[in-house]
Amino acid sequence: MSAKVMPFAPQATMEMPILVVEDVVKRFDTPEGPLTAVDHMSFSVREGEFVSIIGPSGCGKSTLFSVLGGLVGGYEGKVTIEGQPIAGPHPAIGMVFQEDSTFPWRSVLDNVAFPLEIQGMSRADRYARARHFIAMVGLEGFEKRFPAELSGGMRQRVSIARTLAFQPKILLMDEPFGALDEQTRLLLGDKVLQIQQQLRQTMLLITHSISEAVQLSDRIVVMTYRPGRVKRIIDIDLPRPRSIDVVSSEAFGRYVAAIWSDLRDEASRGMNDAEARQRSSS
């Protein structure tokens, strides 16, 4: 019975793209006129791959996240999953949000079982599957606790377990550890890496942390600051399976330096822009 609820991840086939983003443009109307958040972005993610999208604050990363998750429409271009264009939230995509998104009135177990409850799975089955993913993120023994009794890092792990329980083909994460301290980030990043390797889960991570992106990714898409375009796509040729020790290797440092040289101009443009806005508003 337990074997039935265990997820069987498909063998990673590194050739076929599972997610294709083609020429996506997303504009917003603002009081100062139209703002292009995402400008002709194209990239693809292959099955089993870990791709990070990195860019300075305000580069449209989170907009892209909402577009891929099907939460916003009204964009140009095409997003396809296994050749099928998306219209609204797609069952193949599971989202993990930047903010604390646990339901405060639900226990850890009921939080993680939530997507299964939505699908109409029986109580026994959904609890069995929820327990499996709670253990996977290392929260065994906390099933009966409520979010208010957990730390921020634990709550984000609950969110990750909840989205894993949805068993999406692609796990889409928007700075899931953005609000956490650096050491917790590093350890949780490693946890994600272990889970990714165990499930051969296709993952797409949106982040502004260079070291996090290098630690986890097979490929990194570097974005420009406003309008958000693809500046460069970098293959991260670090050995797999990867452990937390990778962060102290020499190759790791070289990748971080290379990405920083790409991002420096974008980040300082973003900072100057933000300061100019501050000045004009005061």
Binding site: P89, M95, S101, P104, E117
Partner: protein, 261 residues
């Protein structure tokens, strides 16, 4: 050691707040009894406490009282169900839909504080002189505070929780029952408490105006027959009923509140 434990136990028995509360109640009752005994006012306007106590005792073994209590409680529950259900639905729709919210929100704020008793003749025409018009008055009264609470509660629901529900492809019904309503539990309970208060006012007022059953009717009956001890006894039971219902609502929300924080 015994001294210390005595002090702590006496502290626990009588905190300054509890002492003040008991003191005020004792002072009110004492004043009441003095006025009653002094004969300054007409004897029956301020009956002595033993007389009220006796009337209360008689009331509590009177089947007529329970029949009328049942009518009033039934009307109140009906009013809360109708007015609360409609208020919740209207508040949630206006909170969820910016366009409708903009169009109708002001009506809630303007109509909310108007005295509902002026609609009583209309309710009598529509729903008859029996319990129907009383339920309608109670429902009309509690609709507004519950709708306003639901509307603001709807807007306070954390946006990310809504996005989580959508990303897991929850249906509209699932969004309402599994995300919006639990997330809004505290404002809804607050609205219910406010609504209960005004529903009691609306229902009882209607009963005192025109009816032949219910607690409001009994109170007016004792007033017209000048049976003051029985009238005060009825008022006491009415207070206890209001407090009890309020405590019941608080208890319902308490389970969730304790878990949440």
């Amino acid at each position: 050691m015994t001294d210390a434990s005595l002090i702590t136990s006496s502290r626990r028995l009588l905190s300054p707040v509890a002492a003040l509360r008991i003191g005020i109640v004792a002072a009110v009752l004492g004043t009441w009894e003095i006025v009653a005994a002094s004969g300054l006012l007409f004897r029956d306007v301020v009956p002595s406490l033993p007389a009220i106590g006796k009337a209360l005792g008689q009331l509590l073994i009177d089947p007529v009282y329970y029949a009328n209590l049942g009518v009033t409680v039934g009307e109140l529950l009906g009013a809360l169900a109708v007015g609360g259900g409609l208020g919740l639905a209207v508040g949630m729709v206006l909170g969820a839909n910016a366009y409708l919210g903009k169009a109708f929100e002001e009506f809630l704020y303007y109509l909310g504080p108007t005295p509902k008793i002026i609609f009583f003749p209309v309710m009598l025409l529509w729903f008859g002189v029996d319990t129907g018009s009383k339920v309608a008055m109670g429902a009309l009264s509690c609709f507004f505070p519950i709708a306003v609470s639901a509307l603001s509660g709807m807007r306070q629901v954390d946006g990310v929780l809504i996005r989580v529900g959508r990303s897991f492809r929850a249906s509209t019904w699932q969004m309402v029952t599994k995300i919006y309503l639990p997330a809004m539990r505290h404002p809804i309970v607050n609205g219910l408490r406010l609504g209960l208060g005004v529903a009691i006012i609306g229902t009882l007022l209607a009963e005192t105006k025109m009816s032949n059953q219910g607690l409001g009717f009994l109170i007016i009956q004792t007033y017209t027959t000048f049976n003051m001890p029985r009238m005060y006894a009825l008022l006491i039971t009415l207070f206890l009923l209001a407090i009890g219902l309020n405590a019941l609502i608080a208890w319902f929300s308490g389970g969730g509140a304790a878990r949440k924080s």
